[in-house]
């Protein structure tokens, strides 16, 4: 053979060697990573599954399509119908939207990669965890008893028992028959096994159920969990308890006078304490109402009220009005006997008990007598 032919053949072989595609090499294609957002799904959650391929070979690999299938966790997005070649040393990311349609557990939807030229396919099961455990909420602080219109501090703690973080956590009180401040509490992100607290100022106006709804997001999925707090009115063990003692009833002109002591036997202060005679008694001057003011725990104060009755009443209520620190008004009543038939009150005068005519007469008499005396000495 002539040398020229040998050179042509050699060159041709070299061109063929460089120009012809390499033969299919699926073994060089590997799944280097897969991830799910959120990392753990809840039932019905939608997530994003990402699979990353890498060509570890020295030649490109032709890929026909890529798809995902499985049960329990199903793909919602379309498969990749035409992928093309994956160059040597390159990587490619495939993203699928999936939904957890099954129950709890770990599911393995299969990522399938079909190669061209009948080079077979790659199957890679991707583990997806589905756990339906919700965030837990609990009331960690509340009063012993609720009272109408009395503001109570309610503290709610939200914990995250899930294996993945929850985001956008907030607590929203819901229901009727109360007012609350703030109207919602924001905690934010909660890492696994972490917790956050929110305090509400709750003022019930009636017995009701207050639902604290915990709202959070798992990826793009919003979830809620309810915590119901029954609000039943009862006696606050610490509340102020004004007690009237040492009562003495004395008939006076036009009515009666009651003097006594009022003591706060409760554990909290009683503010703006007023003592008044209640119906059927009619308060009269000078002590229609007695303002005691603030009575701290174990404090005692004397009081005095004056009133009149229609003459047939044998006992009247003495009413103690007071407020708590929140300004809510309370009343406490103590019946006080008037001594049966022993009292002898005078009827209240039409001028309200103030003898104006009498004052005028005194003034006139004083003037007249002073004039007479002055005149008598002047005549001397």
């Amino acid at each position: 053979m002539k040398p020229i032919y040998l050179a042509i053949i050699t060159l041709l072989c070299a061109v063929i060697a460089f120009a012809a595609p390499a033969s299919a090499a699926p073994a060089d294609i590997t799944v280097v990573s897969s991830s799910l957002d959120p990392p753990v799904l809840m039932k019905g959650d939608t997530g994003t599954l990402t699979v990353v391929l890498q060509n570890n070979g020295a030649v490109p690999v032709a890929i026909r399509n890529a798809r995902l299938y499985g049960s329990g966790v199903v793909p919602l997005s379309d498969p990749y119908p035409s992928v093309g070649e994956l160059g040597a040393g390159n990587s490619k990311t495939f993203t699928f939207t999936v939904r957890a349609d099954g129950g709890e557990g770990t599911f393995y939807p299969t990522f399938v990669l079909d190669f061209r030229d009948g080079a077979g396919s790659l199957r890679y099961p991707v583990p997806v965890q589905v756990e339906d455990t919700p965030l837990s909420a609990s009331v960690i602080e509340k009063p012993d008893a609720f009272s109408a219109s009395r503001t109570a501090d309610i503290t709610v703690r939200v914990g995250n028992p899930r294996p993945n973080a929850a985001s956008g956590v907030q607590v929203v009180p819901q229901g009727t028959g109360f007012s609350v401040t703030p109207t919602g509490g924001f905690i934010g992100a909660l890492a696994p096994d972490a917790s956050g607290t929110v305090t509400f100022n709750l003022t019930p106006t009636a017995e009701t159920d207050v639902t604290f709804q915990v709202v959070w997001r798992n990826g793009i999925n919003t979830h809620t969990a309810d915590l119901v707090l029954p609000v039943a009115f009862g006696e606050d063990k610490k509340q102020a308890d004004p007690v009237i003692t040492n009562v003495e009833v004395t008939p006076i002109a036009g009515g009666y006078r009651i003097v006594g002591d009022v003591m706060n036997a409760g554990l909290e202060s009683a503010r703006s304490v007023l003592v008044t005679p209640g119906a059927p008694a009619t308060p009269i001057d000078p002590f229609r109402v007695y303002v005691v003011g603030t009575l701290d725990s174990d404090d005692i104060s004397s009081f005095e009220v004056t009133f009149t009755t229609d003459g047939t009443v044998e006992e009247i209520p003495v009413v103690v009005e007071y407020r708590d620190d929140d300004g809510n008004r309370y009343t406490s009543t103590r019946m006080v006997g008037l001594g049966g038939t022993m009292a002898a009150p005078l009827e209240e005068r039409e001028d309200g008990g103030f003898p104006v005519v009498g004052i005028v007469i005194v003034a006139l008499v004083a003037l007249g007598i002073a004039g007479a005396i002055y005149y008598s000495w002047k005549r001397t």
Partner: protein, 218 residues
């Protein structure tokens, strides 16, 4: 203008000076004491009504008897006041070496009671006003009556009307005292200073007592 014994109210000096020219006479002073007694008797009527209301029906006769006794005491009270004032002035004026018989002293003391008549009328008016509004509850036993009476005393001592009545009566006592000063000056032949002391000491003590009583200190 001679207006009779009423002139003693405004011009006691001239009146007693004129009376000294005549023989002592206790007729008009006694008349004044009678009127005082009558007014006193009338003033107990409201209290008598209360007493009658307190008593059960079978004891109403006792109530009538009590009424008569009360009125009699009130009537005599006018004379007693006259006599007591007269003797006290007579005795006190002796300290200042007063000269003059007791009859003259009693006569002029009686004239000095004239303002008390007006005071008695006004006091009786207040008494009626005060007690007319009283509610009398039915009582069945003496204990209730005693308790009611005690309450009544408390009421009457605290009523502004009663206190006003007391103040008015004190004013009339002061007016009487002014007349008695002139009366003692002539009846006991005292200087003006001694006459003022003769009358002022006992009357001042009496007024002090009344004020303390009105203030509720006793």
């Amino acid at each position: 203008m001679d207006t009779g014994f009423l002139r003693v109210l405004l011009d006691p000096g001239r009146f007693f000076e004129a009376r000294m020219q005549e023989k002592p006479s206790l007729k008009i002073p006694a008349l004044i004491a009678v009127v005082m007694g009558l007014i006193g008797a009338v003033s107990v009527i409201p209290m008598t009504d209360i007493t009658m209301a307190m008593l059960p029906a079978e004891m109403q006769g006792l109530g009538v008897l009590m009424t008569i006794i009360s009125a009699a005491f009130a009537f005599v009270g006018g004379f007693l006041a006259w006599v007591i004032y007269g003797f006290v002035f007579y005795l006190v004026s002796m300290i200042f070496k007063g000269q003059g018989d007791l009859e003259r002293t009693m006569e002029f003391t009686g004239y000095g009671l004239l303002p008390q008549v007006f005071g008695g009328i006004i006091g009786t008016y207040f008494s009626f006003q005060l007690l007319s509004g009283l509610n009398i509850p039915p009582m069945t036993n003496p204990e209730q009556m005693v308790e009611f009476s005690e309450n009544l005393v408390t009421i009457l001592s605290t009523d502004p009307l009663a206190q006003i009545a007391g103040i008015v009566s004190i004013f009339f006592v002061i007016w009487s005292a002014n007349i008695w000063v002139f009366g003692m000056k002539y009846a006991r032949n005292l200087s003006t200073r001694d006459a003022v002391l003769t009358v002022g000491i006992p009357v001042g003590l009496y007024i002090l007592y009344r004020l303390i009583t009105l203030a509720g200190w006793l």
